[in-house]
Every structure is written in C-alpha cells, then in structure tokens.
Symmetry: C2
Subunit: 437 residues, 2 copies
C-alpha cells in the first residue's frame, strides 16, 4: 500500500516526540492508518546536534524549502513554531500541493485566514489538533463531535503554566515569585514566561477555539485579557474560604446574541470540574444546545501529549479523514458573525478585596459606593486585626476586607472602582476578579 511520506520541519521537543512514535511504533502507525507512515525528510537548523532520536543523515537537511518542494513528500509537518519562517514554509507547502499538520497556535491566530484561504484554494488541508491544549482532542470535539450542536458556552483552562503556578501557590503557601521559579525549575515555565502568565497565550488559544465553536472571527483586541501575574496568595486563600478556586479562565459565551469573552483569573466554585484541575493540566468545558455540558481534560503541553495530537493528525491525513473535515470547519469563514459583547455590559458576580485603614466608617463608605452603583453584597469576610503592642510602637496595619457581590455589570463595577480608589481609605490597589457561574 502507498505509504504516507512525511517531511517534518523542526525536530525540537514535540518534533522528536512525533518522530519517535513514527519510527519506533511503525507497526502501530500502519495498523491505525491503514498504510505505512514514513518520515522521509526532516529540516533542522543544525544537523550535527546530538538528538535523542536517530534520523539517517541523508534524511536531514537545513533547507526547509527543499522538503516543502520535494516531490516525494505528501505531508508537511510544521513544528518550528513562531511566525516566520513558519508562515512562509506553510504557504509554500500548500502551494506545492502538500497537506499540512501544524502545532503552531500563534501562526494560526495571526495568519489563519491567509493560510486557510490558501489551503482551500489549493484543495489541501491544514490539521492542527496540537495547536490548542496539547493532548486534549478539543479540535476534534468542536469540529466533529459537536457538529449537531450550537455551542453556547466555552470555558477553558488552557495555559498549563499559569495553572501550575496557581496550584503551587495555593497548595504550598508560596508567593507568586516562588511558584514561578518552581515552574521554571520543573520546565513548566520558560525563562521568560511573560506570554503565559500575562494571559496572551490563553487568549490566542481562545480566539482559535471561539472561531471553531461559534463560527465567528474575533481579534485579541476585542476582549479583556488579564494574566495571573498580579495574583497574591492571600486572594487564593480568601477565595478558598468562600468555597472557590482561582483559575486563569478563558471564556466565550453566547449571551443575547452577543459573545461574552474574556481571559481573567476567575473564581470557580469548589467541586465544579474546572475548579478541580490542578497543576499543568488543561480542561475545556463545552456546552452545546443539544448535548448540554461536556468536559475534556488532559496535559496541555509537554513532548509526548503534544506529539500524540500531531500523530493523530498525521493518521487522519493518511486515512483521508482530515481532508474531509477541513472544508467543513467553521474557521476563518464568516457565515454567522456574532458581535463581541462590550466589556461594560458583562453581567457577573465579583470578588473584591480591599486593604483598608482599620478605622470607623470605612465599611460604610465602601458599601455606600457599591450600593449607589447598583452592586449588592452576597458575602463579606473581615477577620479581626491582630492585637497591637503599642508599647513596641506598632502602627495599626491595614485590614483586608473581602466582598463577594451579587451580579452586576462590569460598567458599574468599573465606576465603583474609580470612586473607591478616590476614597483615600484604600492602602493598596483594589483586587477585583469575576466569578464563573
């Protein structure tokens, strides 16, 4: 039977993992794909570099374009990441009549429309299960299993680094910086974890998932994005006291014909599946109008989980399934544009923490401002301040005051924040996080 001949661009962590499965599990691959799968060529930067996987020297090249344009290649697997030269390589591969498998979320997020148009024009397909949530088959779920449904709500923990850091902080009573260092030491965070901890990575993934789930284009500029880099341990503890976990949650929800979208540290009630996802795991909660709520969870990154999704895509191409699925994906086509809800209109419950002076009337001032902005209180925590040793010259420390509100609009909350910040009783910035209901 005709083998599927693969040209791989990049042999880093995920590339080595995929190559290992293809080479070491050749019998398994052939049985599942119905034909042999061959790694014909691999483009790398430095062919001399020692690698955990053995590739015959004559199959290694430093020229990705020679792979892309080789007549003996059916499928190009792009695993170098980043925008360029990945974009040029993928476009050239499609132009040369090759199908493409990629794990490159940033590329799809920035240049998806161009790449998809090229693939459609050339009658080729792009498969990208590995681009979001590593080993969790969320692209297959959205593109195939949910086909009978209108998705109504998508809530996701899709940045494993942030989730690992929040878990470390909470379970080990560590401040943010120590948890980041721990994540770096264990390989869960890069030397510069900015894109992970500031919410950008989750937001990029959310735009891809949203386009698939709702068939509408959204840009990173159209919704609030907030990372975990300002989270304090104290808030994780207060949230726990109230019965909630704090997660970096990416949300896209149909609300009155608009899409409510945000990436924010969010309180989730304990025992709800999303609240129980710890460490570097990902979870996507997907609600459809027919199927109701569903959950998908697994490792969101790492060599073999991501390689597993790359190989699933490769087998899909070998079988011919990916070629049938691709034209039917609601991605980068605008058949039903849905406006993104203006942030001011978002209507949610909020967690608020104030550090206030321990003196009369502070609580009255705060609750007065909240009340005048239509924000009512669901619960309040204020613990007694530690006793002062005035002989030792102790100054009264600011007292933390934690308030859970009933549902209010983001517009009202923002107005209240402005008024509260002018109040003069706040001893540090107000902490404000939404609650997922």
């Amino acid at each position: 039977m005709q083998p599927l001949r693969i040209g791989m661009i990049g042999l880093g962590t995920v590339g080595s993992g995929a190559a290992r499965l293809i080479q070491h599990e050749a019998e398994r691959m052939q049985r599942r794909a119905g034909r042999p799968i061959e790694l014909r060529a691999v483009a790398v930067r430095d062919p001399a570099k020692p690698r955990p996987i053995e590739i015959p020297a004559e199959r290694l090249t430093t020229d990705p374009m020679s792979v892309v344009n080789c007549d003996d290649i059916d499928l190009v697997v792009e695993l170098i990441g980043g925008i360029e030269p990945a974009r040029t390589i993928v476009l050239a591969a499609l132009e040369a009549g090759k199908d493409v498998v990629t794990a490159n979320k940033a590329l799809l997020c920035e240049h998806g429309p161009e790449l998809f148009r090229r693939a459609r024009d050339r009658g080729r397909c792009i498969a990208f299960e590995a681009a979001v949530a590593g080993g969790v088959p969320i692209i297959a779920a959205l593109g195939q299993s949910m086909a009978g449904n209108q998705t109504t709500c998508l809530e996701a923990i899709i940045n494993g680094t942030s989730n690992f850091i929040l878990t470390e902080m909470f379970h080990k009573d560590q401040p943010y910086a120590a948890a980041v260092a721990q994540a770096q030491a264990l390989g869960y965070a890069e030397a510069d974890p900015a894109m992970d901890v500031d919410g950008t990575d989750a937001a990029q993934k959310l735009t891809l998932l949203t386009q698939l789930a709702f068939g509408t284009r959204v840009s990173l500029e159209s919704f609030p994005i907030q990372g975990i880099d300002t989270i304090e341990l104290a808030d994780l503890k207060y949230a726990d006291e109230l019965g909630y976990a704090v997660k970096l949650l990416a949300t896209a929800k149909l609300t009155d014909g608009e899409l409510e979208m945000h990436v924010q540290p969010t309180l989730i009630r304990r025992h709800r599946p999303l609240a129980e996802v710890d460490g570097a795991y990902n979870m996507i909660a997907l609600r459809g109008d027919a199927v109701g709520p569903t959950w998908y969870s697994g490792q969101g990154a790492g060599q073999m989980p991501t390689a597993s999704s790359v190989v699933a895509d490769i087998i899909d191409v070998a079988i011919g399934r990916a070629q049938l699925t691709f034209p039917r994906l609601d991605l980068f086509e605008e058949h039903t544009p849905i406006p993104v809800q203006p942030a001011e209109k978002m209507y949610r419950r909020y967690y608020l923490r104030f550090n206030v002076d321990d003196r009369p009337h502070v609580m009255a001032d705060i609750t007065d401002i909240l009340g005048r902005n239509g924000i009512s209180l669901a619960s309040v925590i204020q613990h007694e301040a530690p006793e002062l040793d005035e002989a030792a010259g102790d100054e009264p420390a600011p007292v933390p005051l934690v308030i859970m509100t009933h549902r209010a609009t983001e517009g009202n909350v923002r107005q209240a924040r402005r008024e509260l910040e002018e109040l003069g009783s706040l001893r540090s910035a107000l902490v404000c996080m939404p609650v997922s209901d």
Copy 2:
C-alpha cells in the same frame, strides 16, 4: 448537492430528539455536513400515536423492512434498542448496501462480530457513538484521537443511573431504596432498574470500550461484575471519612501483558476527577502511552445528549468520514489478543467493613487472619460504641470496624474472607470494595 437520505427505525425518546435536530436545524445540519440531510422515512409501531415531533404521514410506516430496502435511503438509523428485531434490521440494511448508525449497545455487545463482519463484507460502515456514554464522544476519542497511542488504562463511570443513586444516597443521607425511588421519580431509573444497578449495563459498555481501546475481544463472563445494589449508606460515609468517594467503576487496565478488568463499586480518592463526577454524569478516564491521562465527561443518557451523538454520526456519514474510520477501528478483530487477568491475581488495595461483637480479642482475631494472608493494614476506623443503658436492658450493638488495606491480591483477600466468615464474631456480611489507585 446530493442530500443524505435517512431512514429511521424507531421514534422513541432518542429518535424524536435526533429527528428534531434534523428537521428544526436543517440549515445547521447542511452547513456542517456540506449537503442536505433528509429524514425520508421513519418506521414506528403505531403511526397514530401523538408525538412531540411532526413527521408527514406519508413518511411514517410500520414496516421497518420497507425502509431498509427502499432505494431512496442511503443511511439506516436504528434506534429501537434491544436484540430483535434490531439485529435482523441492521443485517438487512447492510445487505441492502446501506450504512448504519445505531445507539444499540446491547446489540453491539452481543452480536458485534456478526454485524461488523457483514458491514466489512458489504463495504458499508456502522457508526455507534451514541451506544456508550450518551453525549460523551468516547468512540471518536478511542478510534481517532488516541490513534498514536497504546491505551494502557481505561476507568469509567458509564452507568448514570448508578451514579445518580450513589450521589443521592451520599448527599441526602438516604438509604439505597429511597435513592432508587428518587431516581425512578426523576426518570433516571426505569421501573425495573436491574440491568443498571447490578452492573450489567456498565459491563456491556466496558466490553465495547475495551475492544476498541485494546483491540482484543472480551466476554462478559471473563471478569468480575458487581453492582451497587448491596451498597449501604454507612459505607459511603466511612469512605468519605477516609477521603474517598464510592463510584461504580468500570476498569480495563494493561498489567504485565494481561488485562485487569472489573465492574465494581470502587473507592476513589476525593479530588481525583472520577471522584467528583456526581449525579447522572458519565466520565471516562483514558490513559495512553504517549498522551498520558485524559478525561472525557458529560451526560451519559437522556434525549438530546444521546441525539447529539446520533447526529454527529449522521454528519460523519454525510461527509464520508465514518466510512473511512470504520475499517480502521480495532473492534471485533483479533489482531492482538490480550488475556484477561485471572481475578485471583488482581493486586489492589481494599476497603473492608465488619460488623463485629464489641468484645475482647475480636480485633486481634481479624488482624491475625488478614496478616496470615499477607494483607497489611493501611488505616483503621473504629468509633466508640454508644453508651449502653443497661438498666433499660440495652444489648451491646455490633460495632462497625473499617479497615483499609495495603495492596493485596484478590486471591488472598478471598481466602481471608472465607476465614473471617468462619470466625463467628461477624454480625453481618463482610463488605469488601477495591480502591482505585
């Protein structure tokens, strides 16, 4: 574009749900399938019966064979359930060159090899996402997303009725019988819930999933099956005290080249995803040698969740994907037979509860028997007995003694049980449940 013409057999709960999606969401179906999907004929027992869904009279028939043999039908959707006449109808549909979508787990479990052989001989496909775990796309996960993996462990909560009953008992402090009545009142349990609560339903589903996941045939007779019908509230409470939830867990696990398989009420440590699945929900935890642990969860039954899976299959057939997937499924073919591990060899931790006389040396007798059988204790709960009012003639009540063991073989545990039951200090049957690690 050529429509996909459907003949539906059965218009009960799931059938009405699927028909509603096909008829009321025709535009959505066409967009996702790339071609119109038409409900051409529906076979029912009583065409005059009032239904929540309107089917034109000329499309209703009482003769399923006329649907199966009609030249204007491309796909037969079998939704009557049970063995006969479903088996005859499906065989005839395949013989007549139709593809088949079915939600009939019992039929596949009993006659899968025959049906699959017929489909393969005739070059047709059978799609059956709805046969296991309702709206959870576990067949797609196993047949497609896990294709790069050797599955190493499958643990599943796949009987929603049992899970609902266990949840009701625990959260509402109800005995078993009251929870069953509640499940019946809410439609989660049938008038005769025997197949659900005795483990048979979960075991049938497990054999299907095991064959897909491990590519080996297993029979219902080859592994222990135990239901929840002897579970007492007290055991749920003791398990909770120890930090565990009790779930009806279906397990298939690769252990030293053998398949460890069982369906049993099982202790699962709190906060593990399977322990947190409450009510009528299902969850399948799937571990692959590349992807690591993954979880899939959603409603395991009910009209629209199951209809969602039926419609996903219909769209798969319309696109042509199901026809490519079917020949590649590791189902009812025996390429890698794996022996089922003899029950005696299973090596697990156990929860044991004894009701014993409150007199000297009972604990010594019990722990002596356990020790001589190589079973060591991990933890023990024995609460102080209530004070007796001897003046009122109170007899000493039997005292519950709960023991969690370290890992031991089922063979040793069975031998210990026999010896314990001969001991004479036990005032009721010994309760014994395994622990999932």
